[in-house]
Symmetry: C2
Subunit: 428 residues, 2 copies
């Protein structure tokens, strides 16, 4: 049974609680060894770990273009149609995020600006097995492509027969991935971060993964950039008394089925709704193929918080700063301005999170564990970097040289001052 | 003497080499203890560390508004004028970075968008002693203010008499800092990350600091956001044969005087210029008040790389991905497009880095250690986060429900599929 609290009677720690996950010293040590080994021994080390962890002896790491094309050609046309429509929506939304250079030239002899440059090579991690999601391929690769990344290098652990799931290969082709390598775990992260004989070194690694992948990403951060270390998935449904308890329960369960550590929370202003959703959860859980996972998530991490009113409900949502926030009220846009902390916001009673997970267009890689207070959904911004530029003529510099010298001298940095004044000295 | 290499004869590791810095286990252990202590004991712990490390027993941590105003009133009017002009330029540049919400409403019944929300509370670390720079106060606080951050909380270690440098207080008032606390080191980072009786918990911590501050920031990352862990400062001057060796040497030294670990590099296409700059460095170093620091930086980390031509010079600059890049050629805009990796780019022969450090407007907090391959200057973007939002009517959801169900079922996530289909079932 899901736990039910009244807002005035619940500790702050309980409000903020998420399912706990995390690395261990054993994981950290194993990952450190794998990184060092791949850095030193390259492909040979990756192939060795592939045999050890994935149970397959590969001849080479790269997936042939012919295999990608064969998977695409053999795919169910309905799946291609679904993928293509989703990709079109993702592209349309993310195109709006593309940033342009700007230039300021308000003063004679002075040009200032900011230029936006794509990150050159990006690695995209795609998990294997049951967590191998074609939707993640689209959500990670499409923003990278729109940003202008020239090489999008996908890595994914092979099955025991050395193959990669056809749905993943098909999604990779639809999304515009430029190369695919059969490798997973910390060894794949290492190969991307350091480069090997066959795998080019990348500048950034994105995509979800298990604790080994997360630990490896954290360790190579600085050598390369990483997207984020995602925690277990979370949903917060903010609903008023008129919400449909069956819909609310179904939406909570769509998150709970992901993972025993997933967190599903309902915040509402109605004891009656709380009771009805609780009953609906009990009715619906047994109907699910992944009932055991959903049950563990709901019982261990799920909660219903009954707020005094919807205004307090919004405050609680902002404090929790959920990854996914559903606003199940009749006039959801009336609350949009007051929502400050949430990864993605689903507005209205007919906007289940799954619509955003797969199809609507906004990214499904979102900040977890309350980091929506300061972090953003994955976007085109994550695949570019900015550089500022400054041009002054000698005359323009001369007009302000005293100010720069004044500032530098007050900070005790004479060579800074001198680098300006030397340009106006006789004989220099 | 600075070392001189020909591009064809230098190892990649030598090209990429920077002065080495880094944490030690002793630093890490000390910082972990301080964080735990402040988390548990709040103000009492901070005051205790203040007595221990800063040598002053404070009655309270907060700087009174009257003290800030008194510093401002007593400041040299020339300094106020310099600060105000610099602040105006910084504001004008960073205003161009402000992002707006967007909304897409191309399909009936479908509204998608992205909203931009300021991070609520930000902590700004300002070092004490000789590295206490009013310019850093401006460069960090002004973008935060423009982003709409409601509380900008500055922390800085007090002098032995319990005071804060008047120049820092004056810059804080000019920049729009909302509160100032007298504390430094890991204890200040802890107080900002966890909150204490007198210090509000923030969402993000920015600003430079020593290895204790850097280690503390790295450890609280995730609980709060951080800006970046800056390495020692770097400059790369890309110059053609016609560059003035005295100017180039002065610019290299403006970086070298910062820190023994600072790195100054000249890349040019002329042996003659290489020789002349080398000689100029020897001539100018003894003239500097900070000659010993500049000498150590130039001799240990400095280098001149002679490229075959300017095109190869640009490639080398992109590979090094410097924090500051000066392009000392007659037509610098001709090379702008080919520069892919640099924090800030100084275009032309009369644009010393100091112009950007203090005055021109772009930020001086820039990616070091080659991270310009994937990182950007500090900007207004660092003080906001984005949230996406999705609204569909029931009719619009109905029109695409089969696609979402198809995708979810192929990923084996039936509860995702069900959260959509339940809305179209009879009796629900």
């Amino acid at each position: 049974m899901i736990r039910v609290f009244k807002s005035g009677e619940v500790a702050r720690a309980d409000i903020l609680y998420r399912g706990e996950s995390g690395s261990t010293q054993a994981v950290e040590d194993a990952v450190a060894d794998i990184l060092a080994d791949v850095k030193k021994n390259g492909d040979a080390a990756v192939l060795r770990y592939c045999e050890k962890f994935d149970g397959v002896k590969l001849a080479g790491l790269r997936v042939a273009q012919a295999d990608i094309d064969a998977a695409y050609e053999a795919a169910d046309p309905e799946f291609i149609r679904t993928l293509t429509m989703a990709a079109g929506n993702i592209e349309a939304f993310h195109k709006r995020q593309i940033r342009r250079n700007f230039v300021i030239n308000d003063t004679p002899g002075v040009v200032l600006g900011q230029k936006v440059t794509p990150i050159e090579r990006v690695g995209l991690y795609v998990p294997g097995g049951t967590a191998s999601y074609p939707s993640s391929v689209l959500m990670n690769a499409i923003p990278a492509r729109l940003a202008g990344v020239s090489e999008i290098i996908m890595v994914t652990p092979p099955a025991k027969d050395g193959s990669v799931a056809p749905a993943i290969l098909t999604a990779a082709r639809v999304a515009g991935v430029t190369a695919i390598y059969k490798m997973g775990g910390a060894q794949a992260v290492a190969a991307l971060a350091y480069g090997t004989e066959s795998v080019p070194k990348v500048d950034k690694i994105v995509g979800p993964g298990n604790i080994f992948v997360a630990a490896a990403k954290r360790r190579v951060y600085g050598i390369v950039d990483i997207d984020m270390i995602a925690g277990p998935s979370e949903i917060l449904v903010l609903a008023d008394a008129a919400a449909n308890p069956a819909y609310v329960a179904a939406d909570l369960l769509s998150q709970a089925e992901h993972d025993r550590l997933a967190t599903a929370v309902l915040v509402c202003d109605s004891e009656a709704l709380a009771g009805a959703v609780s009953a609906e959860l009990e009715r619906q859980i047994p109907l699910l193929p992944r009932a055991d996972i959903a049950r563990a998530s709901i019982d261990n991490n799920g909660k219903i918080i009954i707020a005094r009113d919807m205004a307090e409900g919004v405050d609680i949502a902002n404090e929790i700063a959920p990854e996914h926030l559903e606003v199940c009220v009749d006039d959801p846009f009336s609350l949009l301005n007051s929502i400050r902390n949430a990864g993605s916001i689903f507005l209205g009673k007919n906007v289940p999170e799954a619509l955003g997970d797969y199809f609507a267009g906004p990214n499904h890689t979102l900040p977890t564990l309350g980091t929506a207070r300061f972090s953003s959904p994955l976007s085109v911004d994550d695949f570019v970097k900015k550089s500022s530029f400054i041009y002054y003529t000698k005359e323009a510099l001369g007009a302000v040289q005293e100010r720069i010298v004044d500032f530098a001298e007050r900070e005790g940095l004479s060579a800074h001052a001198r680098s300006v004044s030397i340009r106006f000295e006789d004989g220099q």
